[in-house]
Amino acid sequence: MHNRLKVRTTEAQKAAADREKEKKLQLYRNTINDVFERRSRKEYDVLALKSSEGLLRSNPDIVTIWNYRKEILLKLKPSEEIINDELYLTEKCLQVNPKSYSAWYHRNWLLDNVDPSPDWKKELQLCTKYLKLDERNFHCWDYRQIVASKCQEPIENELKFTMEMIESNFSNYSAWHYRSKLFSAAGKDEECTKISELSLVESAAFTDPSDQSAWIYQRWLIGKLEPSKIIYKVSQIKNTVYLILNRNLPNNYKIIGLGETIWEQFDSKVWYKKLDNVNINKIQIIDEFNQVIDDASLDNVQKDIFNLNISEQLQLVLNGQLDSLHQLLELEPESKWALLTYVLLLYTLKPNNYFENCLKNIKLLKELDTKRKNYYHDLESRYKIEYWIANNNNNNMDDINLKGYGLTAFYHMHMFLFNINIDLSDNDLSHSNLNHLKYLIMCKKLSLKNCKLANLNNFPALNNLESLDLRDNQIQDISCTELTKCKSLKTIIIDNKQIALEKILQGINQSFNIKIM
């Protein structure tokens, strides 16, 4: 039950209400029993239709009664008048409960199955009327899509309709959503659409910067941009060739190269192939039309792996938005949505000093929007790791140094698949899942010093790991048994406050060399 205020009543009021309820209950029971009896007598006539109208008008959600009406209507071969009466009944029921799934469906079913010449155009007008009364009724929006496709309403007209709705109230997330669907259905030139939508949504968002509908739509428009490259690196370890991607391989893409055998996957971002005679030539990723999306040769690292594919024209538009956001933030420095969009745009366009600027503004967001501060922490971690990868990781580097980055989350660990010395010390990984370290299959030396770890739950089996630094953590429990899965692990470094840990580790594997530093 929604939106029913609890009202305090006196004894007398309560007694009167109870009497009223008793009367209603009796009426309900008599009516529904009468209807059920008619149904069991297989009465499929107009009288039977009439008998259940009142029941539905007071409670449009009794599905079984609608079902009985469907049975009658199928048997009756109804006149136009009866069909119109039935449509009218659903309208009346929707006025009682505009969110009644069964009333909406009955209407749809009737036009689909009983009405010999359904007037879908009229139906579309009805949707328009209802949406003007209740602009966020998702039942009606969803029904409208069915209706629009039945009457083959041109997409242009539907776009115009969403525009009218948005103009009368920018805060109409349903309308923005419908636009996103209409554009993909139209298969329109993405670039053009994106540019015009960006300017539309900008004016909406600026009109009421606290309203989230337009901002979410804008975030999507910006976020739709994908990196131009997909292959981060191809490397060979013994007789296995590994292919590391910057994102999951889309279903319609295929990897080709290195013979006919298929590539196996570690997960959708890490692919490998075992070969006896490796003669590496080019590896390519192609789409369903055999268009080459990206290619790479052995040991070549793609440094711009997080740079997005932005045309000059779009770049111009986005730069304009960045400027306007800057101005808006001068007027309203505490507008969270403007600030967040500013950060996203900075990260997308990567102008000079973008990174420092992003971090500064994320810090502000954490203060302004405390409810979601952990989201911003994780976002910051992702940005920092991406920045590090883009600026440091080159061909022959063994070391990863993310010491003291304030990381709260693991992102892109699969890009460290080939690295040997990995320093993740001085971060806050207390709540992260250590299983993300499973990608570090070549790592020999790993530091988790001062990472606020309370346990080693889910620590993966790292076959090459030889040395692990666990100093300055509060690990006390037997989750350390996870370490026995690391077959080459010899040295574990702890500090002199971790006496209990030393005992635990010795108990688990006596051959561990435990260094106290």
């Binding site: 039950m1 939106n3 959600d61 998702f138 999507w220 409810k371 979601r372 994780d378 992702r382």
Partner: protein, 330 residues
């Protein structure tokens, strides 16, 4: 400007456990006869809400087990489906509720499993979707009902799971969320159904967890309560739909849990027990379950642990040997 949140009064609400137990036990008794009759078209689900809630706060104990099981039997139809109440038609919604209640009672093996499986699998369409009953309404809610129902009975292999997953994927939207059908707007409840289905199917790789997780985190309002869509009022039931989805996606730390607890506790009826949609409204079993379930997921020492995918006690899901997929924190 429309009101887009509620104000909580300053009085801190204390936890009224005994009253919640009384409130839940009173259903089926005289004093709720009117509500119970008027809502008989969904009674089987009503019982699932009430009994699950009771299980969670009453140490796993459910009174009148035999009577309840007899009621389920009285709603059984020859096609294998269950109706909400005797005299009403069978539907996937109530078939799931019947199976869930039987599992709570540890009596699911006494159900006509083969017939139920046949009923559910026949409702699957060529595109992988499910209709709620023979009249053909398609909705992702019914995908969840089908997958949950069959997996509880250990019969998930009896439907075309690949197609079922494909259909859910086709309902994904620009914001990472899901709607009731392809093209339909994202909505907290339907997102739970779709992500829950993918969790049962072990295909959470199809979810863009960061995009959806952020959108779900934005459902939290200054009051601490969660809404189901942008610019809507908070409601205790979204404490479950939205929060459990965040939990499944390993991103429930992206909202302020203390704030959410405060909102849920403020929606208790301190006098008669039970929870309502938002502070000050009439309580009902639906919101009582989803309020308690969300508190359970945030750990509460007086509430038994709940499974985020099935919205059933963890102990029951473990007994059935089910391991619905969840994602880890990033």
């Amino acid at each position: 400007m429309l009101q887009k949140d509620v104000k909580l009064d300053n009085t801190s609400k204390t936890w009224v456990l005994e009253k919640h137990i009384d409130f839940l036990q009173s259903f089926g008794k005289e004093r709720h006869q009117y509500e119970s009759s008027m809502m008989e078209f969904l009674r089987m689900s009503g019982m699932y809400w009430g009994l699950t809630a009771l299980y969670l706060i009453n140490d796993g104990k459910i009174p009148k087990e035999d009577e309840i099981f007899e009621y389920i039997k009285s709603c059984e139809h020859s096609c294998g489906g269950y109706s909400p109440a005797p005299g009403h038609d069978p539907h996937l919604l109530y078939t799931l509720s019947a199976v869930q209640i039987a599992c709570l009672l540890n009596r699911e093996l006494e159900l006509p499993i083969e017939k139920i499986v046949l009923y559910v699998s026949k409702l699957q369409q060529d595109d992988g979707s499910f209709t709620g009953d023979k009249w053909g309404e398609i909705d992702t809610r019914y995908s969840f009902c089908a997958l949950a129902c069959l997996s509880l009975l250990g019969k998930l292999n009896e439907i075309n799971l690949v197609k079922a997953v494909e259909f859910i994927k086709s309902c994904q939207n620009f914001d990472g969320g899901f709607g009731s059908r392809p093209g339909a707007e994202s909505h907290g409840g339907l997102i739970y159904c779709c992500v829950g289905s993918l969790s049962i199917a072990g295909r959470l790789d199809l979810v863009d967890a960061d995009t959806l997780g952020w959108w779900l985190a934005e459902r939290q309002l200054p009051s601490g309560g969660l809404n189901g869509r942008p610019e809507k009022l908070p409601d205790v039931c979204y404490s479950w739909w939205v929060f459990s989805t965040l939990n499944i996606l390993g991103r429930d730390h992206w909202i302020d849990k203390e704030g959410l607890k405060t909102f849920i506790l403020a929606s208790q009826d301190n006098e008669g027990g039970g929870f309502s949609d938002r502070p000050g409204d009439e309580p009902d079993p639906f919101h009582t379950l989803f309020g308690l379930a969300a508190l359970s997921l945030m750990s509460h020492d007086k509430i038994l642990p709940i499974d985020p995918t099935y919205c059933m006690p963890k102990a029951v899901i473990n007994r059935l040997g089910l391991k619905p997929q969840t994602l880890s924190r990033p």
